[in-house]
Point group: C2
Chain length 188, copies 2
């Protein structure tokens, strides 16, 4: 046994890989913002979408929302069409700009406006998924279980409580694996 | 020496990590589209930007452009503000949709329209960087060294020939490291 475990430990030390890439909580139960979430897997980006609490319907200064998920959960979803326990999404909301440098039209991303998160933790949250708003801070308490985040995700999401209908690559995976929520249309 | 290399080899075998995450070419010199580029590091996304050859100024159906870079080059840039040799960017152009599901405004991403790439390979390209259009294929020849891609990147980019002015996180890195091209304004 000693011989078979040693290379794994050596490996983790060499590559600096964390044992788990999921959520981390403070002793008080606050979710910690992962320092390296920009190196997590990018799921999608939208501009000026009006469904999210931090993405405002502001047509003159619309916000981008970049969605990231922890890499091991992304790979699990590709295999199964389901999110494993301890999946964590980070929603990074950024301001936008129009004309600048050589860009003469459309929008590109500028500074961060807010950061939010969704976490699946079945042992921690009776409703399985919880939602968090970091603002510009590094830790956040979950919104109450009856928050608008919880109810909107529960009522409108394509897979479990996640808005896979807006993640084109993963929507195809869910269709193939047959994991769309009952009643969710196959096309939109 | 044998003892110090063994754990590294064991490590690579255990974790399935490629020795290099940079570009791969066919024997004929065609760039291969990496199958896992969606798991590379996301740099930024824009909507309807008019500077790129595949991003058209179409206000009724603007395209998103998602930019990814190979992870080891991203981490090198965070440390140095420079792109190492064998850096590869993938530009994924996606169509957009407006109203759909619960979204009542703004734009979200739908199917892929085209995939392009930029590669730094000093031994392969006299001009160091080359540009590629995959369309929906899996391999691509470089555009000629006098292509509009080459000249526009050479003339307008913030760092080397890359449009770091549109990558807000990396623009801050370049400012801190002092690697913005001479004459490039510090703000835009």
């Amino acid at each position: 046994m000693k011989q078979s475990i040693l290379p794994v430990l050596t490996c983790l030390a060499l590559l600096g890989q964390p044992v788990s890439d999921g959520p981390s909580f403070s002793p008080a139960g606050e979710l910690m913002l992962p320092k390296d979430y920009r190196q997590w897997v990018f799921v999608t980006s939208g501009l000026g979408m009006t469904y999210g609490p931090a993405a405002q319907a502001n047509t003159s200064d619309p916000s981008f929302d970049n969605v990231f998920v922890n890499p091991s959960s992304y790979r699990a979803f590709l295999e199964t069409g389901h999110w494993p326990d301890r999946t964590m999404f980070v929603l990074e909301v950024r301001h936008s700009a129009g004309k600048g440098s050589i860009n003469q039209g459309g929008h590109y991303q500028t500074e961060i406006a807010a950061i939010e998160a969704a976490v699946k933790d079945e042992s921690r949250f009776p409703q399985k998924w919880a939602y968090f708003g970091f603002g510009r801070g590094e830790k956040a308490e979950p919104f109450p279980a009856n928050s608008v985040c919880n109810s909107c995700h529960r009522q409108n999401a394509a897979v479990e409580t996640t808005f896979v209908q807006f993640y084109p690559e993963l929507l195809e995976v869910a269709k193939r694996k047959g994991t769309l929520n009952a009643g969710f249309p196959n096309s939109h």
